[in-house]
Symmetry: C2
Subunit: 412 residues, 2 copies
């Protein structure tokens, strides 16, 4: 089954918005045992015409994103209908969904939104609970011309992702037939790199009959995906855990922060954070997890030295003699936030994000992490992540959460 | 000048590696006044054949990434030469570059690397100081077949980016000539939606001769892109600012947080944040801006009521009688963080992120924002963003930063 993806949107080609759809679709389809044969991006408007015409003649399934909004450059619906020679009509269900979307938000519906209730005759309307643009599904042979199944989907991820899972995936499974669908597992690791897998177990993974596998390296994280029969997946998982089990974050796709929240919850323990260079990112990641309020109570972003001293009781002498980026400051930040919050665990970070502020002794990318535990000692660790500012923050937050995770599972 | 991009690599379509090339090329070309007409991604191997054949017949310039390495699935060089009917020969300069790359690193050169010194006759070798794969440039009319200028470039960003700037950009400028270069502007707005533009000024923008424009809606933000002659862009900008100038974040593509940091810097003013439901996201966004330490000193993530009371002095009676999500708590959080930090401005947020915790009176999505100013009054505003947890946090952080921005420019 040849699947192609057409992403529409001038902003994707101008580089204003990173096109994450291609990779996202790839991962979802891979987990279903399907592959993307080709992906293309075109600007809004008439360029869609040409690309759509080529792709619909070549592919078995075409997933199109974007251009379903109410404004004049949102033309996907019309271009697809015109190319396939199908009339649009106003769909009553789509209209009612639109009206209830606006009613729920107590906003008037603009006349332009009425275009979003126009549907090619014979198409399924795919409800969009998170936005105004319904998706559309045009089955194969909807008209004389095309054997291709065409999905028109909204561009914004918060609308696209739920719609894919509830509306697109079941139809793809039906189109593909059961035989195309494989089992899949995703194991997340941290503290090791993709090359550790290459050198360590890649050749052995390749020898497992019927197993397909792939790596995805992120900042401070490597994901291993396994696809195949239940036996093949179990063999791959055993191999990976025997070699790298101590670095496993989760075997169900859970993020590091979700894993930390779960572990804290299991211990009925509370966490506090004290951040300098990560600027609130650790607290932000923890509070992205639903239910975080059960385990996370206090966070400090002590960006200035004065804040470290007044809020966390870091002695000014230490700040002056050792500098803000030092083992002593990481320790006293962690201990101060543990004391002030009454939490069971506290993690602290202080480092040099750059682009300026580095020295020969403490170059940009240096950070000290502190971990304090109620009734326990305080651990301090130095890390070095010489990366661009936002990537540095992500890498340091990952190191700090991993330090806590290892403590929570009795490894550090 | 029609520019297309072909990214090759199975890992891009499996989603293992995020394809950032499309957006990156877009930004580089946009800055040169050029645009990408179409981008495509295909797996390694034979799929390149079909896509290359189509694109080289259609485009004036084709930029290809990937598949120049030494392994068996790196076939771009051979497929391009074969399709265009050009012989490959061993290039002496390319060979010497390869040899010196390995000599510099004190490593032996593998026989497989010799393939990387094979060059289509008539092509320019583009030196790659950061890797083994030299780039290649095939000028238009290199053979009878194609009027398209073809660049073969390495996939890894650390090899691609320097090569683009030193070797590709100058050739593109020469190919484009001055006449192709258009001006462009990006205006960011907040507090209004894409549909406000549609009803307000879309028809008038369409009437400006020689102006191309487009919108990009994000959470709590709409970007307006203008492309055309300087006169057309000025007319579009005037129109947008006359209607929505009060909602303008920036006219140079700067983010809301970067704008707030700049405005604070211009006033030599300090900011503190006190966050409950956003969980550190506001501080995280502010500290993503280089130089944030000049204006941002203290942040609190007072997730538990007890933290709001002990750290920011919010009276427990208020928390109990009004609830944590209330005007009074937003006010006292803002005032407490202003007092504790000694900053000039403090923003506070408290709300219900969900998925649980909502009531009929205060449903999930409700948040109160507080803004305190040294020597000024305290403002409190209620917002309602009924969205999934992370989107809610983003929307509330946007509302809070916008409240501060308006105060800093004297509008609120």
């Amino acid at each position: 089954m040849k699947i192609e993806i057409l992403n529409t949107g001038t902003e994707l080609l101008l580089g204003n918005t990173l096109n994450t759809h291609g990779g996202w679709f790839g991962r979802q389809l891979f987990a279903m045992g399907l592959r993307v044969a080709r992906q293309a991006t075109v600007p809004d408007g008439e360029a869609i015409h040409e690309a759509f015409g080529e792709m619909v003649d070549r592919a078995d399934v075409l997933l199109i994103t974007g251009g379903l909004g109410p404004t004049s450059d949102d033309l996907t619906r019309e271009i697809v209908a015109e190319t396939l020679g199908i009339e649009l009509h106003q769909d009553e269900q789509a209209l009612r969904n639109l009206e209830s979307f606006f009613a729920l938000r107590d906003k008037p519906m603009a006349p332009a939104n009425l275009r979003q209730a126009m549907v090619p005759i014979g198409a399924d309307v795919l409800p969009n609970p998170n936005g105004t643009a319904p998706g559309l599904y045009l089955p194969p042979r909807i008209n004389g011309r095309s054997n291709c199944a065409v999905f028109l989907l909204p561009g914004p991820p918060r609308e696209l992702y739920p719609m894919f899972h509830s509306e697109v995936a079941p139809r793809l499974r039906a189109l593909a037939g059961v035989s195309d669908v494989a089992e899949a597992a995703e194991l997340k690791f941290t503290g090791i790199g993709e090359s550790d897998f290459h050198h360590g177990i890649d050749a052995q993974l390749a020898d497992i009959p019927g197993l397909e596998y792939g790596y995805c390296a992120r900042i401070g994280e490597v994901d291993l995906r396994l696809i195949g029969s239940p036996e093949a997946i179990a063999a791959g998982r055993d191999l990976a855990l025997n070699s790298f089990g101590g670095h496993l974050i989760s075997d169900d796709g859970s993020s590091l922060e979700a894993t930390v929240v779960r572990l804290l919850r299991e211990k009925a323990a509370k966490l506090a954070t004290a951040e300098s260079c990560t600027g609130g990112l650790i607290a932000n990641r923890v509070t992205n997890v639903p239910g975080a309020s059960e385990v996370f109570t206090h966070g400090w972003v002590t960006y200035a030295n004065e804040a470290k001293a007044s809020q966390l009781g870091v002695p000014m002498e230490i700040l002056e003699s050792h500098g803000a980026v030092s083992e002593e400051v990481a320790r006293t930040m962690a201990e101060g936030s543990l004391r002030e919050s009454g939490a069971d665990y506290a993690i602290a970070v202080t480092g040099i994000a750059g682009p300026t502020g580095g020295t020969e002794e403490k170059p940009v990318g240096t950070a000290w992490l502190g971990l304090a535990e109620k009734g326990g000692g305080t651990l301090a660790v130095k890390v070095f992540h010489p990366r661009a500012r936002k990537d540095f923050k992500q890498a340091v937050s990952q190191s700090a959460l991993e330090l806590l995770r290892r403590r929570l599972v009795g490894m550090g």
